[in-house]
């Protein structure tokens, strides 16, 4: 097996490192990150735009191009999240949670740099995992059942407990429930019944995740900047110390290394599951880090924590790489973007599947090896640009607000080219504004929303499959393991509390 791996790697290097393909990777990474940076244009648009270019190229080169554009777009996608709080793609929504506050604190350069480092690490770590564990992970992605997905979503929901500090716990639970409720709008995927659509065709497909993120984050933020006249926004001057600086101290780097490692692993694993995807990967990585963080660190989350920024960035890049497993080894796309790439693969005459290693090894390994290179290129392309891009925040407030509004509206319109979505965004934005004025946290809405649909449909499928019995929750070992992890996560705060109390009690008699 190891021999095969070595041969494969050699073949991949031979394929990926011919000058034509190096140029292609460079071009793909550049285009991907540029398109990804534009608010409203995500990886799916980027890949779809590039497909016509790949006709006539040989399959390996074509796939290298598309893959490069894909992870390049995820790489670049964090920029608008960090700078103007308007994510261009669902997978980078979680990046706004801490990236934007950090940028507002006057450190946009640092925020972008940390995002770039984390993306690079997430991408590279998962390429290594992809290389060594592709067949093993193909088995994981093949054997994950509806019940397992349901358990995984429950695990994801526990992250909510970490989304807020003490006191507002109830508020964040309420917001998560609000998110879950919003996710039930639209056609019920199990029975085909319409729910809460009020007979409107526009609501048949429910609310788009990106729309919800724009409404709750970008729109409310724009209004908040106007409301808080004396807030930090005025003090932004390009000459401010450290404004453009990419400097991240050694200590800070040290502190995010474990975060990046864990998030990459988690992101990769979630990316491998065809029913999950990069959005879930980034949200769950964020939730996990917040759960695991110490108390002081936890207080930082949501206010510009480096860990809170690094986690989703490493997570979504790792997940996008992981999603190549079901795509290449089973021909099953886990997301819209990989579905587009599957179409391209078939058009090249390549049959993705378990025999792809044997039938088209140069494509399989060529793509994987090119990803190494691609991640390097992305870092090299993006780092020097950061000081220029960061200057965006030097714009006076009266220009920044329309800028944010303009790009959120364009971004939402570009999802479905439907003007109704803009109205819906404004309505949700107004509701969100009131909630925010009453200090309700916004992030749990998004978490509840993204998990809600997946949770519901997987539960209902699992129930149909198990003849309406919940026994799958403990009868299947993999489901049971996930449930036990959930339990640990739920008990973790209690255990911590108990520990501090015990140590306090011990200290008291001493004092």
């Amino acid at each position: 097996m190891f021999d095969g791996l070595l041969n494969g790697m050699m073949m991949g290097i031979e394929t990926a490192f011919i000058p034509m393909n190096i140029v292609i990777v460079l071009f793909a990474c550049f285009m991907g990150s540029m398109i990804g940076m534009l608010p409203g244009l995500g990886p799916i648009t980027a890949v779809a735009l590039m497909i016509p270019l790949t006709y006539g190229l040989n399959p390996a080169t074509g796939m290298i191009l598309l893959a490069g554009v894909y992870y390049g777009a995820i790489f670049g996608g964090s920029t608008s999240s960090i700078l103007i709080n308007a994510p261009g793609e669902a997978a980078v929504v979680a990046t706004t949670f801490d990236g934007y506050p950090l940028a507002r604190r006057g450190q946009p350069g640092k925020a972008l740099a940390v995002a770039a480092y984390a993306s690079f690490s997430g991408g590279t770590i998962s390429v290594i995992l992809l290389m060594f564990f592709a067949p093993a992970m193909a088995n994981v992605s093949k054997n994950f059942q509806s019940g397992d997905y349901f358990a995984l979503m429950i695990l994801g929901l526990t992250a909510i407990s970490a989304f807020t500090g003490r006191g507002s716990f109830l508020k964040s639970i309420l917001m998560a429930i609000f998110g879950l409720m919003l996710s039930t709008i639209g056609t019920d995927q199990t029975s085909g019944t319409q729910r809460f659509t009020f007979g409107s065709l526009e609501l048949l497909d429910g609310i788009d995740f990106l729309l919800l993120a724009m409404a709750t984050f970008a729109i409310t933020e724009a209004v908040f900047i106007v409301l808080n006249r004396d807030a930090a926004s005025d003090s932004f001057k390009p000459r401010n110390l450290g404004f453009k600086s990419l400097k991240v101290s050694k200590k800070e780097i040290k502190s995010i290394i474990p975060t990046v490692g864990r998030s990459s692993l988690l992101g990769y694993f979630i990316g491998v599951l065809p029913g999950a995807g990069a959005t879930l990967g980034s949200m769950m990585a964020y939730g996990m880090e917040r759960n695991l963080a110490s108390k002081e660190d936890q207080a930082e989350f949501g206010k510009g924590s480096l860990k809170g920024l690094a986690a989703p960035e490493a997570g979504n890049n790792a997940a996008s790489t992981g999603s190549f497993i079901p795509l290449l080894t089973l021909g099953i796309p886990g997301s819209g973007t990989t579905a587009v790439m599957l179409g391209a693969l078939i058009a090249y005459g390549i049959n993705p599947g378990p025999r792809m290693f044997v039938e088209s090894p140069e494509t399989f390994w060529g793509v994987i090896m090119s990803m190494y290179m691609g991640n390097m290129f992305l870092l090299v392309i993006n780092l020097p640009l950061i000081p220029y891009i960061a200057r965006l925040l030097a714009v006076p407030r009266n220009m920044l607000v329309p800028f944010i509004l303009f790009f959120s509206i364009i971004g939402v319109y570009l999802i479905t080219f439907n003007a109704f979505d803009i109205k819906m965004m404004v309505i949700i934005g107004v509701i969100a504004l009131f909630l925010r004025l009453m200090d309700f946290p916004m992030a749990p809405i998004l978490l509840g929303f993204i998990l809600g649909g997946l949770m519901e449909y997987n539960l209902r499928r699992a129930l149909i499959i198990n003849d309406e019995s919940l026994s799958f929750m403990w009868e299947r070992p993999s489901t049971l393991i996930i449930n036990l992890i959930t339990l640990v996560f739920l008990l973790l705060p209690l255990i911590r509390e108990a520990r501090t109390r015990i140590s306090l009690m011990r200290q008291k008699p001493a004092a």
């Binding site: 540029m34 056609t187 085909g192 065709l201 099953i332 058009a347 220029y388």
Partner: protein, 325 residues
């Protein structure tokens, strides 16, 4: 600062346009905008893009552009092409059997009559698929197990209850003398996810399109037990048809194109001539084979008759099965 961003924007857009293939000069139809009512990568998407690309490489169309507008089971796109008909004179919407089924179900208020049916172009037959390790080697065994205990055979499909993936196994069960209402159907939100569900052991059988299963079947990952064509398919001569197994069900999921309402006859004829020419090209043959499609050409008025017949047959069946009042 804005200069910086603007120039980035400019470079990005310009480089996209610079490298786009230029239009062939002698093309018959200058441009077609393909409206795809579903997401990227689905059956509609591959059909529109496969056909569009073949038309473009053979020089039958100058520029082909594609737009995915998923929503409301295709209803959003139908609504869109009708409400903006004047701007959609160069638009062809791809659709398939579900436009008939969903219109009957009332998912959307319109039907094919509200559009200009241009032609059906291909068909994909339905297929029943099991994983490679399954104990089933023939569809008759599945039927026998179903008759013994309907709950022991669960069927996955890539769409909601009452959709095509559900109707086809229900028809087969009914033809075999079983009670289709007892069929346990497990809905997934896409064909690929349903395939993943089958492989994971969620269900025992998958109901899907032949074209969606043929690739994994050729690699030995899954087995196709039966197809719903009238005769065995050239791509899979070993796979039995339902008909020869004694279950009188033939079902073709056609895929074809529709123009906006009241599209001029001249334009329709132009499209029909274009499709006709496309069938003769070797590029089309290779595209068709790659995706496992069968030719099914029903032009213009024939297409409308074909749709009316299918609507009648499907509607009757849905009433029999209790999916419709």
């Amino acid at each position: 600062m804005k200069k910086g961003l603007l120039s980035i924007l400019f470079i990005a857009i310009a480089s996209v346009f610079l490298v786009l293939p230029s239009a062939a000069a002698d093309s018959m139809v200058e441009e077609i905008h393909f409206l795809i009512p579903g997401g990227a990568g689905g059956g509609w998407d591959t059909t529109a893009r496969g056909v569009g690309r073949t038309l473009q490489t053979t020089g039958l169309v100058g520029t082909a552009s594609f737009e995915n507008m998923s929503g409301g089971g295709g209803g959003k796109a139908i609504n869109h092409i009708i409400s903006t008909a004047r701007r959609q004179q160069n638009t062809l919407m791809v659709n398939s059997t579900p436009i008939v089924i969903r219109s009957l179900q009332g998912v959307f208020p319109q039907s094919f009559r509200d559009l200009t049916p241009v032609a059906s172009v291909i068909a994909d037959f339905a297929a029943f698929v099991v994983p490679k390790g399954s104990k089933y080697t023939s569809f008759t065994q599945v039927v026998a197990d179903f008759k013994r205990n309907p709950k022991s055979v669960k069927v996955a499909g890539g769409s909601v209850k009452g959709s095509m993936d559900h109707l086809v196994p229900a028809m087969a069960i009914e033809a075999a003398g079983g009670d289709p209402l007892k069929l346990v159907y497990v809905p997934y939100d896409a064909g690929g996810k349903a395939m993943a569900g089958l492989l994971s052991g969620d269900t025992q059988v998958l109901s899907t399109g032949f074209g969606e299963a043929v690739n994994l079947a050729s690699q030995g990952e899954v087995r196709i037990l039966a197809v719903t064509s009238a005769e065995r398919l050239a791509e899979a001569p070993d796979v039995a048809t339902l008909k020869e197994l004694g279950y009188d069900v033939v079902f073709a999921n056609w895929r074809g194109f529709f123009g906006p309402p009241n599209l001029s006859k001249k334009k329709v004829d132009q499209y029909l001539a274009m499709f006709k020419k496309m069938y003769g090209t070797s590029e089309w043959d290779s595209t068709r084979k790659k995706y496992g499609w069968q030719n099914l050409y029903n032009p213009g008025a024939e297409f409308i008759t074909f749709l009316e017949q299918q609507e009648k047959a499907v509607g009757e069946m849905m009433r029999n099965l209790g999916f419709l009042q």
